[in-house]
Amino acid sequence: MKARVFVTLKNGVLDPQGSAVRRSLGSLGFDGVEKVRQGKVIELELAETDAEKARIEVGKMCEKLLANTVIEDYTVEIL
């Protein structure tokens, strides 16, 4: 079973990388981009076959390591 974790910065947390990407898009002529927020996608291959158990386990992984919940939010997708 596969899981996909999306880690994004919390609302209100400054994102210098996103701002740099937005400026770069602007310099390429993409003027309509008002905001860019950059995040991470982490894919996991799990031995677990029960989707609900997998979701709980990956949630724990996010809390303990994959996300820094001081500044980041995460969502888990079981595939």
Binding site: L14, Q17, V70
Partner: protein, 225 residues
């Protein structure tokens, strides 16, 4: 004073820290180097230092992997029992990732790695690390980081100010950090995290001694304790 310096793959200035602590202890007590895979600390340790560098290649987030390494459980226990812990640069990132200090260190606002001398203001002399300086004193200490942009939520920010836990600020903010913060203290004032490198200005031959006061102060605190 017996200091332990934790070493991760990718640490730097770990030897400089050991020299700085050894010099300050003045009693032929070199700092003990402790590899990250150890699960316990050597006996009789008074202060732990977590050095700068790019532990584990800064993978995932700066300091994130190091903060979950085996030795860090012992470091967290040591701090929770009132032990003194100093985290410099990557060490500061490790301390926030391990929960010993609040907030987080994000990418510099300029998106650039910055290596230069910075002028700092000592915001409080009320800690074992900063008691050798006067509050309001100006120091010149080098920085060398890509992720020193300190950020914290509103409650943490308020607590840091109200509890006098901001140890150092920058005169000219190099990285976008909240309220120009360069270093903060834990609630019990025994854990200090800072982005600048005091161990790099610890001897006239290195260009200055502004950093030496910190190691002298912690040695004095431990002698009188």
């Amino acid at each position: 004073m017996r200091a332990a310096v934790i070493q991760f793959p990718g640490s730097n200035c770990d030897r400089d820290l050991a020299v700085a602590f050894g010099k300050a202890s003045g009693a032929n007590k070199p700092a003990q180097m402790v590899w990250h895979k150890e699960t316990g600390l050597p006996s009789g340790i008074d202060v732990i230092a977590i050095p700068g560098g790019f532990s584990f290649g800064d993978y995932l987030r700066c300091g994130a992997i190091a903060a979950r390494s085996p030795i860090m459980r012992a470091v967290v226990d040591f701090a929770n029992q009132g032990g003194y812990v100093l985290g410099i640069c990557n060490g500061f990132q490790v301390l926030t990732e391990s929960g010993l200090l609040p907030g987080a260190l994000m990418r510099n606002a300029s998106m650039k790695y910055i290596c230069k001398d910075t002028e700092l203001v000592v915001k409080t002399s009320d800690s074992a690390f900063t008691s050798g300086y006067d509050t309001g004193a100006h120091l010149t200490i080098p920085i060398a980081h890509h992720d020193g942009n300190y950020q914290a939520d509103a409650d943490t920010r308020k607590a840091l100010h109200e509890e006098d836990r901001i140890a150092f600020t920058y005169v000219e903010n190099p990285n976008g950090s909240l309220d120009d913060i360069a270093g903060i203290l834990s609630q019990n004032r025994r854990v200090l995290g800072m982005m600048p490198h005091p161990e790099r200005l610890n001897d006239p031959e290195l260009g200055g001694t502004d950093g030496a006061g910190m190691f002298g102060a912690i040695a004095d605190a431990l002698v009188s304790a």
